[in-house]
């Protein structure tokens, strides 16, 4: 440590971190969007500790198929080995640290480092070192020099996640009902596969602004007004500002956005799948999508009503009725890389697939008619968080505070219903302060708030 440098904990103790967001007033300290030390804590205490989406099984159909993703800023290789297992390996050679894999996807028999030629098997074992017997005189213990693996890799509905924390709870418990409902939304029309092509672009914004925006159905009518004027979509038919439903789950999981009113869902519940298709086609449904009967198994009787946006904490946004997912990958406190994955049900009829791809291509992504207008709002909000005076002006997450109540459905699913509000954003930042304040999983389990009940 350089002279005069202080450990992060001296700069940001638990009390100071907890004070960054006050859930009783809704005021957020904007330094959360600019402070470099907090960002370092995020890499350690959120990304390395939590469960990160790394790939979908359809991206790795064959032995040797690989896909590069990130846990925070740590690049990982997701690769299917000879035994059929998906491995998640840190992309860093055990010799000098060079990245083994410099392509973003492909097919490999093994991973050979371009620096000195160390060679690793698809499961991360070190299997070859040039000059092992001569230069190393035969005393290099290769068995101790395999690639570093994620501490745990687990999957749900074909979605693979990884964590660097060996004491993390299971993926099932981490996602909880709310997170599993979110992934259930993706698979509500059947098992899915990734459409080839992941749109990627970089925005000069803090990653959390990109996350909290996904819960924000307040901005849609204004930010995206021009997409409505252009005739690409009917914003009013999508937003339903008076029929919003929010679901909040442990560890910061959340779903926010419009929802079908209960009586509407009850009517749909009585329909056969054929009748549902007709109902959507005839335009009688208040939403363009009507889910088939099987959806209730994956999303629950309350969750199935959501037409909104799940976020798998910390940074996995599910949108377009579950047909797209966007990762918000941190690149320093003031930059975020957006990765758009598009899904279609396996064996979908060509016309259905084409309709999804058309929506996905033209709505989101950097050239998307909707998405074009988001980036500058986020980048300017980020920039304003680093001025001396402007950073002291708090962010006001006041909407609906203390005005709504959590109701519990018959199967225990908890829902907040009412007008457009900022419940999910407050839950995200409240969870964030707890994740950042806790030094390890054990402490997080002690201090974290359970999902809210009662008046919120």
């Amino acid at each position: 440590m350089a002279d005069g440098a202080q450990p992060i904990e001296a700069l940001w103790g638990a009390a100071a971190i907890r004070a960054l967001f006050d859930p009783t007033t809704g005021w957020l300290d904007r330094r959360v969007h600019s402070d470099g030390a907090l960002y370092q804590l995020e890499l350690e205490r959120i990304f390395a500790r939590g469960w990160n989406f790394v790939c979908h099984e359809s991206q790795l159909p064959n032995v040797g198929d690989y896909f590069i993703n990130y846990i925070g800023e740590d690049q990982v290789i997701c690769v299917r080995d000879e035994a059929g297992q998906v491995n998640v390996l840190l992309n860093t050679c055990r010799h000098r640290g060079n990245a083994l894999c410099r392509a973003e996807r492909g097919r490999a028999k093994s991973f050979v480092c371009s620096y000195h030629g160390w060679n690793y098997a698809l499961d991360g074992r070190l299997i070859g070192v040039p000059g092992q017997s001569t230069y190393y005189r035969g005393d290099l213990d290769k068995s101790r020099l395999g690639l570093v693996k994620a501490a745990k890799v687990e999957s749900y509905l074909g979605f693979y996640f990884a964590t660097m924390a060996s004491d993390a709870p299971s993926l099932h418990d981490y996602l909880g009902d709310v997170g599993r409902t979110g992934l259930g939304m993706v698979c509500a029309n059947g098992e899915v596969e990734v459409v080839d092509g992941i749109q990627k672009n970089i925005i000069d914004c803090n990653w959390k602004i990109a996350v909290d925006n996904l819960f924000d159905w307040y901005h849609v009518m204004y930010s995206h007004a021009s997409a409505g004027s252009a005739g690409f979509l009917d914003l009013a038919a999508i937003v339903h500002p008076k029929d919003q439903m929010v679901m909040l789950g442990d560890y910061g999981q959340a779903i926010g956005g419009p929802g079908l009113p209960k009586e509407m869902q009850a009517k749909i519940d009585r329909m056969s799948d054929e009748e549902r298709v007709e109902y959507a086609r005839s335009g009688q449904s208040p939403f363009p999508r009507v889910r088939p009967r099987m959806a209730i198994e994956l999303m629950g009787p309350e969750g199935v009503r959501s037409m909104g946006h799940p976020n798998l904490f910390p940074n996995v946004w599910i949108t377009l009725g579950g047909m797209q997912m966007c990762l918000r990958l941190p690149r320093g406190p003031s930059h975020t890389e957006l990765w758009w994955f598009t899904f279609v049900p396996k064996g979908a009829p060509p016309a259905f697939r084409q309709a999804i791809v058309r929506q996905a291509t033209h709505l989101f992504g950097p050239a998307g008619l909707l998405e074009q207008d988001d980036g500058e709002n986020w980048s300017q909000s980020t920039r304003a968080a680093s001025g001396f005076s402007r950073s002291k002006v708090g962010a006001a997450l006041l909407m609906g505070l203390g005005r709504d109540e959590v109701s519990v459905g018959e199967n225990g699913q908890q829902v907040i219903e009412g007008y457009v509000g900022e419940h999910a954003q407050r839950w995200f930042y409240r969870s964030w302060t707890e994740w950042i304040a806790a030094r390890d999983w054990a402490e997080l389990e002690t201090i974290r708030s359970p999902a809210p009940t009662g008046v919120v």
């Binding site: 990627k200 672009n201 021009s226 598009t342 791809v357 074009q372 207008d373």
Partner: protein, 188 residues
């Protein structure tokens, strides 16, 4: 897609006296069309630009990936898979309408753009359609200090219509894999 890179060198000048002047004339016409079209975009005269598009225009920018030499078949997404642009005339009109709406906040204040078109090569003339390959650099700056841009190669098909051309196809192959800008609110 790069099969066109080694296109045949010009035939011997002596052997093609009259042919040469025809080719020079066509090259001139094509370049002037492309320059005028680029100038309309830089001047934000989007509606006039749209008027240069054929009814059956296909305006497409696939996604490029960083891959190893052995995986070059995976470099670009294929037609029908994901893309940045995959537009017909109706979608291009929507983009123009969006820019005209008065509420396209990402273009208000408007970007300053400069479309550089270079290395113009006529690859094929078939009936009234001319396939042209160009290299482009689209420079964009906006607000006080935002600087960005895109570089790549285009395959355009120009179709003779009236006294001039209409653009019947524009396939845009970016050199960038991660788009380095907040958005692509610009036309290429």
């Amino acid at each position: 897609m790069d099969a066109t890179v080694g296109a045949k060198p010009p035939a011997k000048l002596a052997a093609a006296d009259s042919g040469l002047s025809e080719r020079v004339r066509l090259q001139y016409e094509v370049e002037q069309f492309l320059y005028a079209e680029a100038a309309l975009l830089d001047a934000r005269r989007y509606r006039e630009w749209l008027g240069l598009m054929a009814d059956d225009i296909h305006y497409w920018m696939p996604i490029r990936r960083t891959v190893t030499l052995s995986d070059l078949d995976l470099e670009f997404t294929k037609s029908g898979d994901m893309a940045y642009f995959d537009d017909d005339w109706g979608l291009l009109e929507m983009r123009v309408k969006k820019l005209e709406a008065g509420s396209a906040w990402s273009e208000d204040p408007p970007s300053r753009s400069r479309h550089f078109v270079a290395n113009v090569r006529i690859l094929e003339v078939a009936g009234d359609e001319i396939t042209v390959e160009v290299c482009f650099h689209l420079y964009r700056t906006r607000l006080n200090s935002e600087v960005g841009g895109w570089v790549g190669r285009r395959l355009d098909v120009l179709r003779r219509a009236g006294g001039g051309f209409r653009l019947a196809r524009r396939h845009i192959f970016l050199d960038q894999t991660v788009i380095p800008t907040t958005n692509m609110s610009t036309l290429f």
